[in-house]
Each structure stands twice: as structure tokens, then as C-alpha cells.
Amino acid sequence: MKNRLSPPFAIVIGLASALSHAQGMNAPAPAPGAGPLPIPVVSRFENFGEKDGIPSHKVHCVLKASDGRIWIGTPNGLCVRQDNGTFRRYGTEDGLSHLTVLSIAEDPATGDLWIATLQGLTRLSGGRFTAFTQTNSGLPNNVVYGVAVAEGTVWAATAAGTGAYDLRTRAWKPYDQTNTVMNEPWCYAVAPGKGVIYLGVWAGGVVEHDPHTGTFKAYRDPDGEFHIALATDSGPIVDVTSWVAYDQGILWQGSYFGLARYNTGSATWRTWVQDKTPLLSNFVNTVFAHGRLGWVSTDRGVSVTDGDNWVNYLVDKEGRGVVRIYRPGKPPETRMMTTALPDGFIMAVWADDHEAWFATSNGLSHGVFTVSSDSSALTSNP
């Protein structure tokens, strides 16, 4: 509750925004007198679009693979960034199971990519595509929203359950409402946790599954209602989960009703909604977890937070970049940037300590971090 914005604070945001607009501030620099911000700040956006070979406006997802290559999923195929900076496209003619690519995951053991599409799950291995569909395999449904690989198992969140494909035994294990605690079979995302898998279930909250013991635990909205969030910080923001992400003990739940975070160490939840907190919008497409940070893709820009500090990236109506920084106990800082995200409707983010990539509704953007940001603080628990 202590971090909830009071109503006047909301006004401040608006006014500050208007003010910053008027001042035309440049790229952000550390606020005078402030300590190191435990969130890296983007100093510059490098944008890529159709001119660079990206075959659609919208980019659904982005992944920097372990070999350094940037992969993106679009409604018109899978693309990889080539050495010359342009993007090479792969379509169904190459073996991709469907043109609409929604999510990409890399198998850390093999370097294979697993590609979630609107019509099946596709493996890209050694340059060759192999399609898994609901008719030729144990994939529960062809509409695959999220995919993750952990401990030799590919997890695919589909419109009719989550499928687990054991890469060693080639056996599929479908999970739905009949064999788990899922309220509904509609899965949106999977996130490997520490020895467990988190399933983002549409209308079913978040389901934690321990594949070793075969046990399930459902995290559900305490009020059980879609029309209200009765209280804050008491559980998932809503049962209608649109995304889950996990890293270093922190589980994030994205929804179109706001954002929630679960600290698996302390078993505590925190929730955020637009207007009352720095969260840019309730409409959270995805969350990318890196260290203690969540990179939250919303329909109004990107919110980056460790739970206490926030860095929001927006695009004003003139198309200019705006960054807002919130620190506990300090007034928010709003600055204009010399560059901007190509669009405020952000589909997904990939980030590490050195850079971030943004999949937006109008192309791909590369976020170059400010050199002075203290990346070592990223993994510390404030």
C-alpha cells in the first residue's frame, strides 16, 4: 500500500508530463543528488522496420539467442537479424508451421529455437524447421501463445492446455483442466521457475507445477471477480492471466487488468494497476524477467520496475520519446528523449544488463543503455 499513488499523484504525472513536454528535455541523465538507479536506463532507441526487412508493422516477440543473434516473431513470419543489420525472413515455405509467430524460446542445451505460432509449434534446429501440431503430435492445440524450454522439456501454452514435450523420450504430456488444478484449459504463457513451471492460465490465475513431484498449486485472484480488484498486494491481480515470467525468485503475472509480482522467497504478492501506480497501463501484453527486474510491455509503452523503482518509456503524440523515473519517496522525473520507441503499443521485450530489444506494433527497437547506469545493482535485492 505504501507505494500506491494517491490521486493527486496522478495529477502530478500528468502535469509533469506536460511540463517536460514544454521544456523539451534531452536524453536522461542521473538525477542530481540521487543514488544509483537499480534499473538500467535506455539512452537511445535504434528502430527497425519494414525498410530493414521486417515483413510487417507488428512484431510480436523478440529474442536474443545465446549466439548473439536477434530473432523476432511477426504476423508474417520469423526473422533473424543478419550481420548487415537487415532481417532475413522465414515463412511457411521454409517449414514454419504458420506465419504468425507469437513467441520464441531457446533451448539452452542445444541452441534450438522453439517457435510458438498460430498453427503449431515449430522447432528450428540447425537451420531446419520441424512442425508439431495438434494433429501430428501431442500438442494440445495449434494456437500456441507461449513457449519455454527447461530441463529438457519444451512447454507450450496453447488454447486448449499446456503441452510438455520431453525432448529425451519424445513423449508429450498435455495439461488441462482435467488433470491439473487449472480452472480453464486456456493457457497463455509458461515460465520455468526454480524446479517448477508457472503456467499463465486465462481465467485460471497462475498455476505452479512441479514436474518432479507432479504436484500443482494454483495462485488465484483472492476476490475472484473480474470487475474489481478488491485489495492490493494479496495475490494475482486477476485470474485472467496474459503472461507469466520468472527469474531469480521473482514471478511476474501480466494481465489486461494490471500487473502482479510474486516473491517466491517471501511468498508475498504485490500488484499494480494504471493510474494508481506508476504502471503505464492495465493492458499488459507481456513481461520479461531479468534478474529482479520486470520489463512490462503495455499498450502505452514499457514499464521497467524492480517493484519499487520504475522507469517508464512512452511516446508522446508528436512521436517523441519520454522517460519517467519513479523512486520511492521522490517526485517522479520526466524527461524527453532524443529518440523514441517506434510505437507505444509494446508487444514484448528482451533485455539483459547491457541492452534491451522491444517488439512493438510498429517495428523493432533496440534500446542502448546509458553508460552510467549501475548494472551491478540489477541483481541486488533492495
Partner: protein
């Protein structure tokens, strides 16, 4: 009086006998119709259902074992040759100078693939029957360690990498590749291969390993198949490339070519999509060599000639100077010597179209085939001495190793391992099985489509009464004993009938295999055990819950709501255990536009998990597709009530058979 009494007695007895026979026959037929759910069924043998025990099958009985040479490896100094004897569970060590066998060591589990470390101190052995890799100390051939890998490992390659020493193991039965750390012996990664990873070769001193995948995969019934060459980085375990050998299968040999940066694959170029009307000019299949260059370009060139074939290309080695390659043709009993310099020169000037067409030109090999060296029966694995002066040819069905002087291409002698099993009819039958001379111009042999007796995963359009109306999936020969009749139309009551004059007419285009050899062939096939589809350490273990649920579905007689499933559409009625077939013709709604009849032989399901594709013409790529794509009106078992989970359970169960 006595006569009358006798007449009466005889008449009574005759009448009684007639009543019993007629009544019994009627009752028996009624019983069969009820139990099969097939009111149209005529009187059939009781053995269709009452099949007896699998323990009585020929393949379940003890058989003679032979000293068949498998993988071979030479010591770094070239003085000793290690030979895997998988059928005897032994590894032999031979003196290259004297050709004498020095030692034999017991290595349980079907030792097949061999590799030595750089110093020649540790011999790594892939044991295909128990899914393990063993390490022997070459000083005493004592086993030092053992580790589990994937199913049916066939080859092993040792390579130093930037991450330390690695072993790459081809797990042919689980379609994956194990990467091991030799010290301590442990599996560090397992990556998906193509279909049946079979042999591996190290390139650039361990920078990457190329793996030959024996069977082809294809993306649909009428799509050209392709065998994969899997290229992986043994240090990271990442797949670097998956090269496709277009329309190739049985690609079981692989060799790196020093100084040229190539990798050679032996392969059979199939034309399974083309109706079989002739054998000549590779219309059914032809032997070839695939050259993978460092840039990923793959060029296929023929090993066959315009008027002669050299079937079952298997082992391949390249000379240390990279100028020659040697290819064993297991079905034709020759080793072909290939001029790699000529090919290099040609490749340097060939257009992409030329490269693509080369494999089609059966007269092309005339340019680069230097010689055909005759060998003993079924040459398979090859090894070259480190200096390239001696070629060792494993004559697998003669239990010997031929040694050839690579300068003169003349034989120097043989390492004799066994007696060749001349008195064993099973072994004799295997010779027939692998002998291409029964086919026109030696185009192919039984093994060309049935490696190890199993399937090649392809559908062929055999010559029938017309052209293009006989597309049929290749069926496994493993475990077929007792499952007669054979062929998808169920017309062949015996293997002799199946493989005799009929085969000669529609496929081999020669005289039929002579009766004595045909009997031997049938003996061999009947002794082929079912293909093992599950890991060795799972054999005999209880079913998993999913498998058990699938089994319950398989044997279900009612739907969950209690409505009975008609007997004719219960899985277990047609696919009746223990053979999982009632050996009758069944119509399951799969008649194609040009299939002359709607009914097909009910195939047995033993090893079905490894015999994709499915249905009579191979239209179903996976078990799932049988019910998700090709099920019509619940004709192939009542599946409409299955949830996705239940279908998955069924598939999981079938994979255990």
C-alpha cells in the same frame, strides 16, 4: 442281423458325426462372428484369435551367434585393429601385420561402434542392445566404466574440443545423439538427430561432428523424403546445421575427407514416389555418395553405373591425403574406389544445376569410379590404417576382415574371426536378404528397404495391374512370425509366397529367388525379433500412468458414458494381443482414390512406435494422425469420444508395444 445292426450303428455314427460337424461348424462360425464383430466373416482358423504365446515364436528361441565384424578402429600406430563382434558380445584385437586375432574381450550388450582416444589407451564401445557405452583399457581390454545413452547406440566418435574431450554417440533407436564426457564418463547432453542417427565422423579436429541418419524423414505421404546429416558442435552440444540429403535413405556411412573439408555420406537415392515400372537406371533406387562441403552445400553423385548397381552402400573411408574414398557395397560384395580429385575438379566448375542433376546421371560415375574391389559377403564397416596404406573391410556375413593394399587395390589377406556360419540357416537366410544379385542389375536387396529387417519409413508404388494404383507403406519384418498373411492386401499366406515369384515379377525383375534360398530367407525373417522401441532400462518395467490409461482405452469395450463400443471397432479385437493383429482384412475407411479395394490386412502393432508412417499407404505421418486426420466416422476404432489427453495416452501406450 449283425449286418443290420452294423449298418444301423454306422448310419447312426455317420449322422451323429454330421450333426456334430455341421452343428460345430455353425456354432464355431457364430462364435467367430460374434467375437470379431464381423457378421460377414467366413469360417477362419481359430489361431486368428487364439494366437498362443510369444515365447513360442521363432525369434524368441535361442539361435546361433556369429563372429560378425561390426565397427573397427585402428590403434594410432596402425599396428592393431580392434573389431566389435556385436553378435558375440565381444571385442577382438587383431595384429595388422600377421592378421592374427590376438585377444578377445567380453563386452556385454552388443558392442557395435568403436572409438579410440588420441593416445589409443581407451577404447570406447557403443553397446547397441543395452543402450550403453563402455570404456575398455586397451592394455588389457578390461572394462573400466559404462554409462547409459539413448536407445540402440550404433556408433561413437571421440573428439577433443575446446571444452575438453567429448564422445559423440549415435542413438539410432531414439533418434538422438548423446554427447559424453569421457573422464569421468558421463552424458553431458543429448540432442535430437534426424531419424536413426547411425554413424558419426569428426571434422576439423573436433570443431564439429557430422552424424549420418540412416532413415529418411518426409513431410507427408507424397513429399520427397530426405535423410539428415546432423552437424553439431560437440563442445557446446548445439546443433550447427541439419543438412538434407534429398530423396536419400539408408545413409548409414559417413567419413570426413582430410584436406578437402568435405564429409562423405553413403546413401541410397530412392524414387519411392515414382510408380515402379522398371529397375534399370535407378527407377526404384540407386546408390550414391553425398558430398557435404564446408559451406553447407551438398552434392549427390551416383555410385551406380548405367547398367550395373552396387547396392547398400554402407561404410565409407577417405584416404589421409583426401584423394580417394572407399565405399563398401553390402549388397554387391564390392568396395568401390572413388577418385575424389576428379570430383573436386568437377565441383569447382559445376553449375548448381549440374550439381543437382549429377545424381540422376547414371553414367556419371564412369568418370570417378577407379575400381570395384570384390569382397566377401556383405562388406559393411571400413577402416583405413593411419598412413592410408591398408584398407580393412568387415565382411560381416563371412565373419572375416579383408585387408586390401590401397596402392595396388589387391587383397593382402583376411583376418578370420569365425566360420561364417555356413551351417546356420538363419545366417544363410541373412545372406539372401542382403544379396542384390537376385534383383535386376543388382539394383537392391531386401535390406535396401528393410535395414535390420525394419522399415525405411517410405511408401512405394509397386507394379500392379496398372500404374500408380498400388501405393503401399513399407512394413516391418521384425516380429512378423505368426502374423501371416502378408502384404497389405493379405493375399500372401507365407513369406515364400510373398518373396518368391510374385516379388520377382513386380519388383526384382529377375528370376525368382530359388526355393532353397527362399526357404533360408524366410527362416531369417521369421527369426527377426520385434524392434525394441523403449529404452533398455525400461524393458519389463510397469507402464506409466499415461501408458496404463492408454492401455485401458485400447481394451475399452464401452465409452465413458456406458454405451458399448461395437466389437468390430474395439482396438483389441482386430489388433488382438499378443501379436496385436487378428490377421484378417479390415476396412477402416482409408481406401484411396486409386486403391482397388477398401479392405486391408490388419497390421501387427509390435514395435509400431518405430514404424512411422502409418496406414496402408503411409498417409499418417504419426500415430496421432491416424485419428486426428484420417479417422472417418469412427471406422478405425471408436475415437470420437477421446479427449486430447486420451489420444495422447493411447499413443503413449502404443509406443510401448
Amino acid at each position: 442281423m449283425n449286418l443290420k445292426r452294423s449298418l444301423f450303428a454306422v448310419t447312426t455314427a455317420a449322422l451323429a458325426f454330421s450333426v456334430v460337424v455341421l452343428g460345430g461348424g455353425y456354432g464355431l462360425r457364430a462364435h467367430q462372428r460374434i467375437r470379431s464383430g464381423r457378421p460377414d466373416l467366413g469360417l477362419v482358423s481359430c489361431t486368428h484369435c487364439h494366437q498362443g504365446s510369444l515365447n513360442k515364436m521363432p525369434w524368441a528361441k535361442a539361435r546361433p551367434h556369429h563372429d560378425s565384424p561390426g565397427g573397427m578402429v585402428l590403434s594410432p600406430d596402425g599396428k592393431r585393429l580392434f573389431i566389435a563382434l556385436d553378435d558375440k558380445d565381444e571385442v577382438a584385437e587383431a595384429d595388422v601385420a600377421t592378421l592374427a586375432v590376438l585377444r578377445r574381450a567380453k563386452v556385454p550388450g552388443g558392442p557395435f561402434g568403436l572409438a579410440l582416444d588420441a593416445q589409443g589407451e581407451r577404447l570406447f564401445v557403443a553397446c547397441q542392445h543395452v543402450d550403453q557405452v563402455a570404456v575398455l583399457d586397451t592394455s588389457d581390454l578390461a572394462e573400466k566404466a559404462r554409462v547409459s545413452v539413448g536407445v540402440r547406440p550404433t556408433d561413437i566418435a571421440f573428439c577433443p574440443t575446446r571444452g575438453g574431450e567429448r564422445l559423440v554417440v549415435t542413438n539410432s533407436g531414439s533418434d538422438d545423439i548423446s554427447i559424453l564426457s569421457p573422464s569421468p564418463l558421463a552424458e553431458v547432453a543429448r540432442v535430437a538427430g534426424g531419424r536413426e542417427p547411425y554413424a558419426a565422423t569428426v571434422v576439423d579436429g573436433g570443431r564439429c561432428v557430422y552424424v549420418a541418419n540412416r532413415m529418411a524423414v518426409h513431410d507427408g505421404q507424397l513429399a520427397p523424403p530426405a535423410s539428415e546429416v546432423t552437424v553439431l558442435d560437440p563442445a557446446s552440444g548445439h546443433i550447427v546445421n541439419r543438412l538434407a540429403l534429398d530423396s536419400a535413405h539408408m545413409a548409414e556411412g559417413i567419413a570426413a575427407v582430410p584436406k578437402k573439408g568435405w564429409v562423405l555420406n553413403t546413401m541410397i537415392r530412392v524414387r519411392n514416389l515414382v510408380p515402379i515400372t522398371q529397375v534399370k537406371d535407378g527407377w526404384v533406387m540407386a546408390s550414391g555418395l553425398a558430398i557435404s562441403q564446408a559451406d553447407g552445400a551438398v552434392t549427390q553423385v551416383p555410385l551406380d553405373e548405367a547398367n550395373a548397381s552396387f547396392s547398400d552402400p554402407s561404410g565409407v573411408v577417405a584416404s589421409p591425403d583426401g584423394r580417394r574414398a572407399f565405399v563398401a557395397s553390402g549388397g554387391s560384395d564390392v568396395v568401390t574406389v572413388v577418385d575424389l580429385d576428379w570430383l573436386n575438379s568437377w565441383l569447382s566448375r559445376a553449375s548448381p544445376a549440374d550439381r543437382g542433376d549429377a545424381i540422376m546421371d547414371m553414367a556419371f560415375s564412369y568418370h570417378y569410379v577407379l575400381a570395384r574391389i570384390p569382397t566377401g559377403c556383405n562388406p559393411k564397416h571400413l577402416a583405413l590404417s593411419p598412413d592410408g596404406s591398408r584398407l580393412f573391410v568387415a565382411e560381416r556375413l563371412d565373419d572375416s576382415v579383408l585387408v586390401v593394399d590401397t596402392a595396388s587395390l589387391k587383397p593382402l589377406g583376411r583376418i578370420v574371426l569365425g566360420d561364417g556360419g555356413r551351417n546356420d540357416p538363419i545366417r544363410q537366410g541373412e545372406r539372401v536378404f542382403t544379396r542384390a544379385r537376385y534383383t535386376f542389375q543388382g539394383g537392391f536387396d531386401c535390406r535396401s528397404c528393410h535395414a535390420d529387417g525394419h522399415v525405411d519409413g517410405l511408401s512405394y508404388d509397386f507394379d500392379g495391374s496398372g500404374v500408380g494404383d498400388n501405393l503401399l507403406d513399407n512394413r516391418s519384418l521384425c516380429g512378423v512370425a505368426g502374423t501371416e498373411p502378408f502384404k497389405w492386401n493379405g493375399r500372401n499366406p507365407t513369406l515364400q509366397f510373398q518373396d518368391g515369384p510374385r516379388f520377382a515379377r513386380v519388383l526384382m525383375r529377375t528370376d525368382p529367388i530359388p526355393d532353397p534360398q527362399l526357404d533360408e530367407l524366410a527362416t531369417f525373417i521369421l527369426h527377426l525379433p520385434p524392434t525394441r522401441t523403449i529404452p533398455w532400462d525400461q524393458v519389463g518395467k510397469p507402464l506409466t500412468p499415461a501408458q496404463q490409461r492408454g492401455r485401458d482405452l485400447f481394451f475399452a469395450t464401452k465409452r465413458p458414458n456406458g454405451t458399448p463400443i461395437p466389437r468390430s471397432r474395439q482396438c483389441q479385437v482386430c489388433h488382438r494381443p499378443p501379436l496385436y493383429t487378428n490377421r484378417l482384412i479390415a476396412s477402416v475407411g482409408t481406401q484411396g482414390r486409386r486403391d482397388p479395394k477398401e479392405g486391408f490386412d490388419t497390421p501387427h502393432l509390435i514395435g509400431v512406435g518405430a514404424s512411422a508412417p502409418y496406414l496402408h499407404d503411409g498417409r499418417a505421418r504419426t500415430l496421432e494422425e491416424i485419428w486426428t486426420v484420417y479417422q472417418i466416422d469412427d471406422l478405425h476404432g471408436v475415437s470420437s469420444y477421446w479427449t486430447k489427453l486420451q489420444l495422447n495416452d493411447m499413443v503413449e501406450y502404443l509406443r510401448t508395444l
